[in-house]
């Protein structure tokens, strides 16, 4: 097997809060092979954005890495100097955030921002602007030359997100991390961006780590999927296998809640009964136990480990 682009091993991260230590990630394992598109799904608040901010080392000040390792193309990211890390974020890893304003500067024109990002290039400013306009066009933005003169607040939510995507693609990264990049887009653009990402991945062999709550988007875009629950990885495998034959009870319930799968129109959508456990005061045993219909004795005592070859699940019941 080739060596992975990204290899996360037993990563644990916590936040210091007024109530105590909030254990946002616990023993997270995950790999991204070159040229693969890996999706992350999971309950809101389960730690997806925390995982990504740890990878790119842009954690909140009250966050702490409790253990584990992250390797990017064989380099240990957690021990990298912040200068080297900044350089890596500049061209090895690119990021598209959930909220496009995170990557856009509100007081600079789009054109200025898109040329600044090419500061390593020796091309003329006019060339850089032309390149920026071409990328805007490739993500489906009309009047690209005109948009370059505008400020972010002149653009609609979806246009801002496409600008952010175009900016992330400018450096032709080895790994593109996208945190819900298409939630603000209409379906035709969403499909277009999905195809764009697929094409980019084929053209540049770039790997993609993609977070989305839209299960249809994950199904169409991703080769593999990682399912997270309450700060842990509970299932991994090829998207097809995980979606067609889910093994972890949480994954099964999550898929049952997808309104896209419900044919008859209903005023009451299915939900997963119960709440996420309190991450400050974690239950013993399996984190999903209080919401699981299948739990057995051992689930209350011992946290399950992620087990399996290609299709893995962390569950005592399916493990038997």
């Amino acid at each position: 097997m080739t060596s992975p682009v990204l290899d996360v091993r037993r990563l644990s991260v916590s936040y210091q809060t007024g109530r105590g230590t909030l254990r946002a990630l616990r023993n997270v394992n995950m790999t991204v092979q070159p040229g693969r598109i890996v999706g992350i799904v999971g309950e809101s608040g389960c730690g997806k954005s925390t995982l990504i901010s740890t990878i790119i080392r842009l954690l909140a000040p009250n966050a702490r890495i409790d253990g584990g390792s992250i390797e990017f193309m064989g380099r240990d990211l957690l021990s990298l100097e912040s200068e080297a890390m900044r350089a890596l974020r500049g061209d090895g890893i690119s990021m598209v955030f959930q909220d496009p304003m995170t990557s856009l500067n509100p007081v600079m024109t789009i054109g200025r921002q898109m040329t600044d990002i090419q500061h390593r290039d020796n091309r003329s400013r006019a060339d850089k602007l032309a390149r920026a306009a071409r990328l805007l066009e490739r993500v489906g933005i009309a009047d690209p030359a005109e948009q370059l003169k505008r400020y972010p607040h002149h653009l609609s939510g979806g246009m801002r997100q496409r600008v952010a995507i175009a900016m992330a693609l400018m450096t032709e990264p080895a790994l593109l991390i996208a945190d819900e990049p298409t939630t603000a887009l209409d379906a035709t653009l969403e499909v277009q961006i999905i195809h764009r990402l697929r094409q980019l991945q084929q053209d540049f062999g770039c790997a993609v780590l993609f977070i989305s709550h839209h299960l249809g988007v994950i199904a169409e875009l991703c080769d593999e999927v990682v399912v997270m629950y309450a700060g842990e990885v509970v299932e991994t495998g090829s998207t097809r296998e995980v979606f067609l034959a889910p093994r972890h009870p949480y994954t099964r319930k999550l898929l049952e809640c997808d309104p896209g799968r419900i044919e008859e129109s209903t005023r009451h959508l299915p939900v997963i009964a119960g709440k996420l456990p309190d991450l400050v005061d974690l239950p013993k045993g399996c984190v999903f136990r209080s919401r699981c219909d299948e739990s057995i004795d051992i689930c209350a005592r011992k946290p399950p480990e992620l087990e399996g070859d290609d299709h893995c699940a962390a569950c005592h019941v399916v493990g038997q």
Binding site: T17, R19, S44, D143, V191, D258, V271
Partner: protein
Amino acid sequence: MSELLKVRDLRVRYPVAGGIAAMLDRNRPSYVDVVHGVSLDIARGETLAVVGESGSGKTTLAMALCGLAPVLAGDVRFDGAAMSKARDQHLRPDRRRIALMFQDPVGSLSPRMTVRRLLSEPFRIYSELSQDPDRSVLELLSMVGLSSDFADRYPHQLSGGQARRVCLARALAQKPDLLIADEPTAGLDVSIQGEVLNLLSDLQQELGLGIMIITHNLNIVRHVAEQMAIMYLGRFVEQGLSELVFQHPRHPYTAALLAANPSTNFDVVPERIELTGEIPGLLQRPAGCEFHNRCPRVQPKCRASFPDRQSSNGKQGWNCFHPLP
């Protein structure tokens, strides 16, 4: 059902920012019409879903109805009374009775206020809303599925989905009659999305709330809204009963949009309708039907004039010379 909001031919015009070059270029318009003649009705207890092209003016429509964008023309009636306009052309809605949930959740929450402070603010402005603000805050949190310890957090300590739920709680705090929710479920997982939507539909039944949901999530539309409208470049190009529109879209843009929705059905190859041609900008609004340069069904007439509204028994209407059969 009694009528709550009635909008006729609403237009929103923004001036275009531009420097000297723009002033010298006489062909360049000095304004853009972001909302270009929108009509809609929302009855008490009813939900209208607005979907459509990104950048088509959905948020601007919502903002205009809340007095946050300039209105060039059009009539807006709320609960039977015409909404008056201020000198700067902004509508003057009843701020308590019409609540807006902004599209960008984190940006709309002041970073220096705790969730408790954010949620009790409406009670300070409208003291009649709650006898016991502290308790009301906790009730609101539990309504949107957040535990009481969230009260002491600041917005940046919330995940995207948690911030969205705080925004919903804040909108509900003012006990509105009309809730305009701009992407209320973006960033929520399907289970919490279900919880939020079920909550909205419960409240709607209980309080007769009228709701306008702006969303890109086509999967939820059929379940939450009896009426839907499809927006393209500032206009509603199709509107009507959601069930009918999904079953049988008539406008080619609607058909393309609905077919684009990604699905988890691995064994069905999606029948996408590819839209070619450039997405038109507001500065160069195409003549005739604005969709003509991307429309697979375009005919010469479409380039010349804008089609009148056609309708089937008043339950579904569209603006197209050559609708899908």
